[in-house]
């Protein structure tokens, strides 16, 4: 599955999302839990705003010096006997990974959760090469079992499914015969996954933060599955977006604390795994061979632009969890594996405006995302910046809108024009008004009045009343 999901046009996707009452129920209840969890975890830590500021400084420093830290990371991984590959494109990354798997004669790959492998469509590339790929994150596994249903959230990918739906997926696809109790569902998944772990030749992980000073990959999970992926198979491949890096363990500690609190309201997740290269002499655990694939896939083009701070993202999904648009349309409506505010900023940058030009407009600019972001990315400002690019640089604005905005500019930059325009409004709209309300408006008002009434313009504007009042008072 590549970054883009589905082929339906935006409006249809949104309408499917709005009609999916199960999904919307699941999303609004999850948003409630995540929101209170995040606020409680922030309060418990104390000085949340200072921590956010520190998080922002760390991310901004790291991305400013990305070339330096990537080189340091790479040197340290090689020093410990690992292999490093810089992939400029998705194809390059997939070719490298497929080759490693082929060389090892790998038949079965187990992997832990990774958004970048979704982005580059790695599973499909490996499957084409004759390899079986098993997702081991519970949410991802549910989706995989359900005929590769796409993820709808970057932290909890199966958020759009409730427990009854999950029971049905297990029953229909795997012959599950127990209830929808989460404990029973999890136990079933665990038994199935254990078998897979024991048979796998290759383990593939994503990466939450790579630590440059030691060449370590850190993984943050609640299920312990990443630890199984990195200890049982003899060969391990880690795929990371090129921005997922920190200078030292000290910064890693700060960011993990921000990540787990902002994502799920936890002080720490159950497992934080640090892996430094392949198994060394005298060590008991770990893979015999380790490959780190660092993926660019459009990221370096964002460096040095006004959008650079989107590379600060630590993939906590706090912005998604507070987004009032995501709340009603769900993740699949975005048509990208990166949904919500972060997806609306990132998807057009990585995948282009042709594919994702509606996303920056799927926001009221309410700034709930910006307020929630633990590393202070001004997400709503980036959405605005996208709109500006689409209009002013790409010239892709709708013709009617362009004309309206020209008229707006003329009418508001000159008091004389404004005066005439606002004076004419009651006459122009008079035919549509009834009892001071317009219920079926013309032109741009049509969409408004489809669902709500619009106030009729007043015969006397405030400025007219002001003048009258002044006169009456003899001023």
């Amino acid at each position: 599955m590549a970054m883009k999901i589905g082929n339906k046009p935006f409006k249809e996707r949104v309408s499917d999302g709005i009609d999916d009452q199960f999904m919307r129920g699941a999303v609004s209840s999850a948003q409630g839990r995540f929101r209170s969890g995040r606020l409680n975890a922030a309060e418990e830590l104390g000085n949340w705003e200072d921590w956010r500021k520190l998080g922002e400084e760390i991310r901004s420093h790291t991305i400013e010096n990305l070339d330096f830290y990537l080189e340091q990371l790479s040197e340290n991984v090689i020093k410990r006997g690992g292999h490093v590959f810089f992939a400029e494109t998705a194809e390059e990354a997939n070719d490298y990974i497929t080759n490693v798997v082929k060389q090892k004669n790998g038949k079965k790959v187990v992997k832990s959760k990774s958004m970048v492998t979704e982005e580059i469509n790695m599973n499909e590339a490996l499957e084409k090469a004759g390899c079986e790929v098993i997702e081991s994150d519970l949410g991802e596994w549910i989706l995989q079992v359900d005929d590769h249903d796409p993820p709808s959230h970057i932290v909890t990918p199966a958020l759009h499914k409730n427990k009854e739906q999950i029971r049905d997926v297990f029953r229909d696809k795997l012959g599950y015969d127990k209830t929808e109790k989460p404990e029973e569902l999890a136990l079933f998944a665990r038994e199935k996954l254990r078998e897979e772990f024991l048979q796998a030749d290759i383990g593939i992980t994503g990466c939450n933060f790579a630590i440059a000073e030691s060449g370590t990959i850190s993984l943050v999970t609640n299920e312990g599955n990443a630890r199984m992926v990195t200890t049982i198979p003899k060969t391990q491949i880690t795929v990371m977006g090129m921005e997922r890096i920190v200078p030292t363990w000290e910064e890693m500690e700060v960011l993990v604390s921000l990540l787990t609190r902002a994502a799920v309201g936890q002080k720490l997740t159950s497992y934080i795994t640090g892996l430094t290269g392949p198994k060394q002499e005298g060590e008991v655990d770990g893979p015999e061979e380790f490959h780190l694939v660092i993926v660019d896939n459009g990221r370096s083009k964002i460096l040095g632009t006004a959008f650079q701070s989107i590379l600060h993202c630590i993939r906590c999904a706090a912005c998604i969890n507070v987004c009032p648009v995501y709340r009603h349309v769900g993740g699949h409506s975005y048509g990208s594996i990166y949904p919500g505010p972060v997806g609306a900023v990132l998807s057009p940058l990585l995948g282009g405006y042709d594919e994702f030009k509606e996303l920056p407009y799927a926001s009221t600019l309410c700034a709930a995302c910006t307020e929630a972001c633990p590393v202070k990315i001004p997400l709503h400002e980036h959405l605005l910046r996208h709109r500006q690019e689409i209009v002013e640089k790409e010239g892709k604005a709708p013709v009617f809108e362009n004309l309206s905005m020209k008229a707006f500019s003329l009418g508001t930059a000159s008091p004389a024009m404004y005066n005439i325009g606002s004076k004419l409004a009651p006459t122009a709209l008079g035919a549509f008004a009834k009892d001071d309300k317009i219920s079926d408006g013309p032109g741009p008002l049509k969409n408004w009045t489809e669902i709500r009434d619009f106030p009729a313009p007043k015969k006397d504007r405030f400025r007219d009343l002001y003048k009258k009042r002044k006169k009456e008072r003899g001023e």
């Binding site: 409006k11 949104v14 709005i18 009032p324 648009v325 709340r327 009603h328 349309v329 407009y361 799927a362 926001s363 009221t364 600019l365 309410c366 700034a367 709930a368 910006t370 307020e371 605005l384 996208h386 709109r387 500006q388 690019e389 689409i390 209009v391 002013e392 604005a397 809108e401 905005m405 020209k406 707006f408 500019s409 508001t412 930059a413 000159s414 008091p415 404004y418 606002s422 409004a425 309300k437 219920s439 008002l445 969409n447 408004w448 489809e450 669902i451 709500r452 009434d453 619009f454 106030p455 313009p457 007043k458 006397d460 504007r461 405030f462 400025r463 009343l465 002001y466 003048k467 009042r469």
Partner: protein
């Protein structure tokens, strides 16, 4: 104290009563209120749609209009936020950045001005009703005004305030969003109306005409018995 009223285009054309209430309220609190007649719109509709160059023309005009004001007060958190954003928008402009900053520094949303500048928390208003308050997004998150309206409302005699569930969620207005993404906007405003209904309040109060036009327009369409009032009108009730 001399105050220049920035009434906003929505109030000038559609909600004239709110403008009059704002003026009377400020006068009652001892301000000398002036309405610079050349004012138009803050430029937000164009700015938020990505037409930054076009919006700048309106912005420059507004900077000129309010150049000589001591204080600029506006009964809209969103339009007030827009003025406060001007220096950011004209950043690096040798002529306009400084002028934009001077305007931003003297601009206040109405309740913010009453509480923070005039130091008044009880305006002596009276209104026998049960009400709930919609915290508009730009006013709370970008302008940072959260407590002033609640303080003022808590001192209105006879007014019982109910808290609004999910008050942090946007009402679905978002300027051109409301007409570009009507289907999504409808779901958002419906949830908002439902939350307002759950409070059992007779009146929904807000400090932004955009949000109130959206929520109120939906309430009217559905024929619900909820009255929508701008906070200036509540505070000017006697």
């Amino acid at each position: 104290m001399k105050v220049s009223l920035f009434v906003t285009c929505l109030i000038d054309i559609f909600q004239t009563d709110v403008g009059l209430d704002t003026m009377e309220l400020l006068e009652r609190l001892g301000c000398e209120v002036d309405f610079p007649e050349k004012q138009t719109c803050c430029g937000q509709p164009a700015y938020n749609s990505g037409y930054v160059d076009k919006a700048k023309e309106s912005m420059k005009h507004m900077i000129n209009v309010f150049e000589n004001a001591d204080y600029v007060v506006t009964p809209s958190g969103s339009c007030g936020t827009m003025f406060r954003e001007y220096p950011h928008i004209f950043k690096g402009d040798p002529v306009w950045e400084d002028r934009a900053k001077r305007l931003a520094d003297k601009t206040y949303e109405l309740t913010q001005f009453i509480v923070d500048v005039l130091g008044v928390e009880d305006v002596g208003a009276k209104l026998n009703a049960t009400a709930t308050y919609h915290t508009s997004c730009h006013m709370t998150r970008l302008l940072g005004v959260t407590e002033a309206p609640m303080k003022l409302l808590s001192n209105v005699a006879g007014l019982e305030m109910k808290s609004l569930p999910h008050n942090y969620n946007c009402c679905g207005f978002g300027g051109t969003f409301s007409v570009k993404m009507t289907a999504i906007s409808e779901q958002m405003v419906d949830e908002k109306v439902q939350s307002v209904e759950e409070t059992g309040a007779d009146i929904l109060i807000g400090a932004d005409c955009g949000c109130l036009m959206n929520i109120g327009g939906r309430i009217d369409r559905q024929g619900k018995p909820i009255k929508v009032m701008h906070i200036a009108s509540v505070l000017n009730s006697r």
